[in-house]
């Protein structure tokens, strides 16, 4: 699903966020991305979603070489990816429902389908009763879960999650991880950046560990 081939990323200003990263996440696989603060986890995920461009090296998504994607092609790459952001990135002047519906509206789904799918996604994260609320009236963990619902609502083939449980209590974190496992079981590829080493240790998936932009531990993902 995702293949990195000796990828370097240097930010303007000269900071090397990724250096010679190579790995392959097979379609249908699930893996964790770990490493200290500033190790390059978010950067790696941003490269996949074309939020940043690699300085050197090649990366492939679903067989497509991302360094050759045209500007006009970028939105369509992003639609294949359900992305969960470290800072949620919700629209604060729209209801929870409208936030979760956004990817469906953008993709041009019909009105009836949208209602059904949004409610199914909100149900999965336990926020069905808050659909009319504005994000500002939700607690941090609730906002994080709205972001998760938005990422999964259009059933994308790839899920990228950046610290999805940073603001959740241990119990809820386990539930959300379990939700990702469920998606993975129906064929969705999943890549999760996380600091929650204790939780990760209990789960049987590949870990990609970054240290100052270099991959120090990597193995091809094995499906459970």
């Amino acid at each position: 699903m995702i293949r990195f081939d000796n990828v370097y990323k240097r930010y303007p200003g000269g900071r090397d966020a990724l250096q010679g990263v190579s790995f392959h996440l097979h379609a249908g696989a699930m893996a964790f991305l770990t490493g200290h603060s500033g190790a390059g986890k978010s950067t790696l995920l941003k490269l996949v979603a074309l939020l940043e461009h690699a300085t050197r090296g090649q990366l492939f998504l679903d067989g497509e070489n991302l360094s050759q994607t045209s500007r006009r092609g970028i939105p369509y790459v992003r639609r294949k990816i359900g992305m969960i952001f470290q800072n949620y990135r919700l629209l604060f002047d729209r209801t929870v429902f409208d936030n979760v519906a956004l990817p469906l509206v953008i993709a041009g789904y019909r009105h009836q389908d949208i209602g059904r799918r949004v409610r199914a996604a909100l149900d999965k994260v336990g926020l069905l009763d808050r659909e009319r609320a504005l994000p500002i009236t939700l607690s941090g963990g609730e906002q994080q879960r709205v972001g998760i619902a938005r990422a999964v609502v259009n059933k994308p083939p790839l899920l990228l999650a950046d610290e999805p449980t940073g603001n959740l209590d241990p119990e809820l974190s386990r539930d959300i991880m379990h939700l990702f496992e469920q998606f993975n079981q129906v064929g969705v590829s999943v890549l999760i950046a996380s600091h929650d080493l204790d939780l990760i240790a209990t789960l049987p998936y590949t870990q990609l560990q970054l240290h100052h932009g270099r991959l120090v531990k990597s193995a091809t993902g094995t499906d459970t």
Binding site: L51, E52, P75, R78, R79, M83, L90, L91, I106
Partner: protein, 310 residues
């Protein structure tokens, strides 16, 4: 008629965005009204000017600024002979119309224009000759052709003196020139103002919705999708501004209507101000909407590309 599914979707989507952006304006009524009011003022001024020039032109055709010839007849020419000459001239192809001014009429006109009034009644006899005012047709109204015509008319035995009213033409042209320049200057400024106002409003709106734009881009929105609501906002602003401008112009001209009537009355004219016709109103609305759309387009083009999610 059944629309193809693709077209049907397209129309539904546009209608939705149009209504949504209208709803957004409606939910912040005072802010939207303020923007529309600013646009309205900028649209109302050139519209008002346009109307003024229209009225001025109507006035100028009444005054008839084109070249005129005056034939002063010998004092010995009787009124009957003068009438015969008038008929002869009226049949000439170069001539559009002729008007006979008897000595009595000339005196009355002089009295009215000069302000000497009753004092002329004390004159022993009317010193003025009869005059025939000749208006050349369109083709002979330019300076050369009019001069040739003048030469020809001068040769009639009844005519003591033939004269081309160039002075009056020059004066009128000088006035028209000033008015034209003023309008050009103001019109250019105000046209620019409308574009700037709409563009500025949309720019600031894009800025204040930067977060929203970034996020929708993040989850796969195309540029077209993001552009659409802003373009509709521009359209609505322009349209609302134009409607307000229409009202403003009507009010302003209502203020002027009576003073102008009164002035025209003093000059024995039944001239009255025309206000915006139905087609004028339609083109004002179309102009407003088009300028709004264009302003939004320019702002969106410049500022949307600058927003990339990180």
């Amino acid at each position: 008629m059944k629309l193809p599914r693709f077209l049907h979707n397209w129309i539904t989507r546009h209608a939705q965005v149009a209504l949504n952006s209208l709803g957004r304006l409606y939910r912040a009524p005072s802010a939207s009204l303020m923007t529309a009011a600013v646009i309205a003022i900028a649209l109302a001024l050139p519209s008002g000017l346009y109307l003024l020039t229209g009225n001025l032109q109507r006035l100028s055709t009444q005054w008839d600024g084109s070249a005129n010839l005056s034939l002063f007849l010998h004092r010995s020419v009787t009124l009957k002979q003068a009438g015969a000459l008038q008929n002869k001239l009226a049949k000439m192809p170069e001539i559009d119309s002729v008007q006979l001014i008897t000595p009595e009429q000339a005196l009355a006109e002089f009295r009215a224009l000069s302000g000497f009034g009753e004092v002329l009644d004390v004159l022993d006899e009317n010193p003025l000759p009869a005059v025939i005012a000749v208006k050349p047709d369109q083709d002979h109204s330019n300076a050369d052709a009019a001069a040739a015509l003048l030469e020809k008319l001068r040769s009639f035995p009844e005519v003591e003196l033939a004269q081309l009213d160039l002075q009056w033409v020059r004066r009128f042209n000088a006035i028209v020139d000033i008015v034209r320049r003023s309008i050009w200057v103001m019109g250019a400024l105000l046209g620019l103002a409308v574009l700037l106002i709409v563009g500025n409003t949309i720019r600031l709106e894009i800025q204040s919705r930067r977060e929203e734009i970034e996020i929708t881009k993040l989850i796969g929105a195309t540029n077209g999708f993001i552009r659409r609501p802003f373009l509709y906002s521009g359209l609505w602003y322009g349209l609302a501004g134009a409607i307000l401008a229409d009202v403003l112009v009507e009010i302003a001209f209502l203020q002027l209507y009576n003073p102008v009537r009164r002035l025209a009355g003093l000059y024995q004219s039944n001239f009255s101000l025309h206000t915006l016709s139905f087609t004028d109103t339609l083109s004002l609305l179309a102009t407003g909407a088009a300028l709004g759309l264009l302003g939004a387009w320019l702002a969106v083009g410049r500022h949307l590309a600058a927003i990339e999610p990180t």
